[in-house]
């Protein structure tokens, strides 16, 4: 039995990072169970028909042209199986799509951060999540974290390739692209979603234990597509806050240096010659 389970695991999607990935995995397994039964029955029927009814001396083929009851039977049967699968899918859907609440030890940054109205963007029941903006570009992923230094959202801390997230906190992703179509995918944290220029796409995940999860761009985006890696590093909330504070500090230091450099340049070329980047 244990052997069978491990054999089946060989044939299932990756999971274990976030509950939505686990739910997709269990929906996949239900589909697989139904599929295996049908597969075995039909292949066995085919093999039986081929071997049992092969031409022999004296054998005469039965001249049957059809059987209405049988044919209606298997048509309805096929429809019923698929209807059952549809019902299971609808039953699982909300646990896959709808974010769950953050745990009690969640990062305090999780907030009612609805940045813009969208019917497709889903929030946990208590409305609190940590929103990270994911931007795909040839051939790297960029992530923007909460904590913009300016009211219009500019100056937000960011990172490339590796996304750092707090554990036990519901993370909602706002996925966009700055050039061609990409696709965000970290298999252990749930399904993939296209990053399309001009559109926003959303998903979520919640990691319970610290760890590193690997993924990569899933839609052809050019010659460097294979190297457009995405990793998600989950750390305890306190460590995340520390990391984020450090990123902010680096940003403000860089801004200060830029101000000094600008002032120096202005002094050399005359004020107003260099626009604020």
């Amino acid at each position: 039995m244990g052997h069978l389970v491990s054999t089946l695991a060989f044939f299932t999607p990756q999971s274990g990072g976030s509950s939505n990935a686990n739910q997709i995995d269990s929906l996949f397994k239900i589909t697989l169970a139904i599929a295996l039964v049908i597969f075995v029955l039909v292949e066995a029927g085919l093999l039986y028909a081929l071997l049992k009814f092969r031409a022999r001396k004296g054998a005469v083929a039965a001249q049957i042209r059809g059987n209405n009851r049988l044919e209606w039977g298997w048509t309805v049967g096929a429809a019923v199986i698929l209807l059952a699968l549809a019902i299971v899918t609808f039953a699982k859907l909300s646990s896959i799509e709808n974010p769950s609440n953050s745990g009690p030890e969640a990062d305090k940054l999780a907030s009612n951060g609805l940045l813009y109205a969208s019917s497709e963007r889903k929030l946990p029941p208590d409305g609190k999540s940590l929103t990270i903006k994911v931007v795909g570009r040839q051939y790297i992923w960029q992530y923007f974290y909460p904590g913009a230094s300016e009211p219009d959202g500019l100056g937000a801390p960011y990172s490339y390739e590796e996304m750092v997230v707090p554990t036990k906190t519901t993370i909602t992703l706002d996925i966009a692209s700055s050039d061609v179509v990409h696709s965000w995918w970290v298999p252990q944290l749930g399904g993939k979603f296209q990053a399309v220029p001009g559109y926003h796409n959303y998903t979520w995940f919640k990691v319970e234990k610290p760890g590193v999860f690997r993924g990569q761009c899933a839609i052809l985006c050019g010659r460097g597509h294979a190297r457009m890696i995405a990793t998600v590093k989950a750390v305890p909330p306190a460590q995340f806050d520390q990391w984020l504070a450090y990123q902010k500090q680096l940003l403000s230091e860089a801004n200060e240096q830029a101000k000094v450099a600008r002032a120096k340049l202005n002094a050399q070329t005359g004020a107003g010659q260099v626009e604020n980047p």
């Binding site: 999607p13 997709i24 096929a78």
Partner: protein, 566 residues
């Protein structure tokens, strides 16, 4: 006494017109049989080119960080491979088979519009030449789906993308003209007595294939025209910076792309529905259900395109609707598979090569059909979409499905086209190599996808067993290639030394076997009255009745063909 006993088919064995000879006769021909042969030879050459491209890709993926080809070359390879197999092989190969056999199976002298028919072929060839000429400059590299903005002038300025657009245009016009021709021929030129309920199932399939082409091809023609004007004439249909929409392309492309799947597989269903009854010596089980399922699949095929876009930003209502419509289309497809197995049931199955390919088709296509259901469940598709699981699925449908039926058709109809039999030994060897090859290449690709490897990557990290799995797939692809090569050798050999076939070597059911092999220019001197869906069976029975119970086979097969059928 003797005059009254003369078997009917022998009346037609002489040609009325002299066959034209020389290469100019091929260029100027409007004979549907010659055009059909040109279609089949041309598309088979493209099949081999596409196959070589696939083998180079499999070699590249044989080890994780291989440097056999550059990323650019790899992208060009899969773009050429996909576009070739779809636009220059499967769709036109079906058109080639239909060209040769639609008039023969319905008892017509030629297609309804013979010159239009020739134009279809030459447009196809022009499309293929324009596309492959790009090899000498910059082949396209945005995939056969060519999603903008990647395929726009900003990101892919090279002319190969334009060569791809002209490929779609030229083969598209070729397909539409061919489809109109098939429809007109089938609607108007059937033999006396061949009502819709007596139409061979291959003809039903080609009729449906034609309708699908007529509805779907103009959409892709419009889409690639918009891409062309975006690239060169300053329009912004797909340009997000100017309120254009990349999603619009995905919708237009897949509105064509999904029916295209059925354009490629329905003729194959038709081929199987013709061949199985012949070798099971039993009528097809549920003729009406199969014909109705063909039409139902074609209709539903237009309602499921968005299942290729489950990960795109589209409203949830669309996801749910498309999941259900995709489930719905699995029903008539499943019904056909059960009908085919029921056709074998209680028959007397003769294991000739065409039957083996049909049985292999059922076994492999079932896997592709079942993996399709996984992909229709949209939350599951979020994990599987754009991975090797999809690559495995589509190859089980296209190689396990369409290609197996095309090979079944080659082995079944080669005697009619050339007058000679293919070798059964080489045929069976070819079948087993291809069958094992498909399983070895593509079964493991499901696991490669589930383990997180996206498609269209030129390299991968050896996580888990990815290297081993990819090596299994690579070895499988070469076994598959060897199987194809065996059939090429078989064809080349049999053209010269094959056993002479005679008009009806399989004791088949449909009218193409009524005339000589190869058929004369005018096809038939007289066309018999059709009284059922199996006119040749009726004719054999009638001869048997007139000859007073002598075995029909010895009466109908001319001398010289008697050594066949062992």
């Amino acid at each position: 006494m003797a005059t009254q006993l003369a078997p009917v088919p022998q009346v037609n064995t002489h040609a009325v017109q002299r066959e034209a000879r020389g290469w100019t006769s091929w260029i100027t021909t409007t004979d549907h049989k010659r055009i059909g042969i040109m279609y089949m030879v041309t598309t088979f050459v493209f099949f081999c080119l596409g196959g070589v491209e696939a083998l180079i890709m499999r070699l590249q993926l044989g080890t994780p960080d291989n440097t056999l080809v550059t990323p650019q070359t790899y992208n060009q390879l899969f773009t050429m491979h996909g576009s070739t197999m779809i636009f220059l092989f499967v769709v036109p190969m079906m058109a080639g088979l239909a060209n040769y056999f639609v008039p023969l199976m319905i008892g017509a002298r030629d297609m309804a519009f013979p010159r239009l028919n020739a134009l279809s072929y030459w447009l196809l060839l022009a499309g293929g030449i324009v596309f492959y000429a790009s090899l000498f400059w910059n082949p396209p590299e945005a995939g056969w789906t060519s999603y903008p903005p990647l395929s726009s002038a900003n990101f892919t300025p090279a002319g190969g993308q334009d060569a791809w657009i002209y490929l779609i245009h030229l083969t598209g016009i070729s397909s539409i003209l061919g489809a109109v021709n098939f429809y007109a021929t089938i609607a108007n030129m059937r033999a006396r007595g061949m009502s819709w309920g007596r139409l061979p199932l291959f003809i039903w399939a080609i009729l449906t294939y034609s309708v699908l082409i007529i509805f779907a091809m103009p959409v892709i023609a419009a889409a690639v025209t918009m891409l062309l004007t975006d690239r060169h004439f300053g329009t912004h249909f797909f340009d997000p910076a100017n309120n254009g929409s990349p999603i619009l392309w995905q919708n237009l492309f897949w509105f064509f792309g999904h029916p295209e799947v059925y354009i490629m597989i329905l003729p194959g269903f038709g081929i199987v529905s013709e061949i199985l009854p012949v070798f099971a010596r039993k009528p097809i089980f549920g003729y009406k259900a199969i014909a109705a399922a063909t039409v139902a699949i074609a209709f539903l095929g237009f309602l499921t395109w968005a299942h290729h876009m489950f990960t795109a930003p589209i409203p949830e209502a669309v996801l749910v609707f498309v999941m259900l419509s995709s489930f719905l289309i699995a029903v008539p497809t499943g019904v056909k598979i059960l009908n085919w197995i029921a056709t074998l049931w209680r028959g007397t199955v003769e294991f000739k090569t065409p039957l083996l390919f049909c049985a292999g088709f059922i076994a492999l296509f079932l896997i592709g059909g079942i993996s399709g259901v996984f992909l229709a469940v949209f939350p599951v598709d979020w994990q599987l979409n754009e991975t090797y699981f999809v690559v495995a699925h589509l190859h089980f449908v296209l190689v396990g499905g369409s290609v197996m039926t095309i090979f079944a058709a080659i082995y079944y109809w080669f005697p009619k086209i050339t007058g000679r039999m293919l070798s059964e030994g080489l045929g069976k060897l070819s079948f087993w190599l291809m069958f094992v090859g498909v399983l070895a290449t593509f079964l493991i690709q499901h696991v490669i996808g589930l383990d997180g490897m996206p498609r269209r990557v030129y390299e991968y990290d050896n996580i888990g067993n990815l290297e081993l799995y990819n090596q299994i797939s690579t070895v499988g692809s070469f076994i598959l290639g060897l199987g194809v090569l065996t059939t090429i050798v078989n064809v080349a050999r049999s053209l010269k030394v094959g056993v002479v076939a005679g008009p009806d070597p399989w004791k088949a059911n449909t009218l193409e076997w009524f005339t000589s092999s190869p058929p004369p220019v005018n096809n038939f001197d007289t066309v018999p009255q059709v009284r059922s869906v199996e006119p040749m069976k009726d004719i054999r029975r009638e001869i048997e009745r007139r000859t007073g119970g002598a075995p029909a086979s010895s009466a109908i097969v001319p001398a010289g063909a008697t050594q066949v059928g062992v």
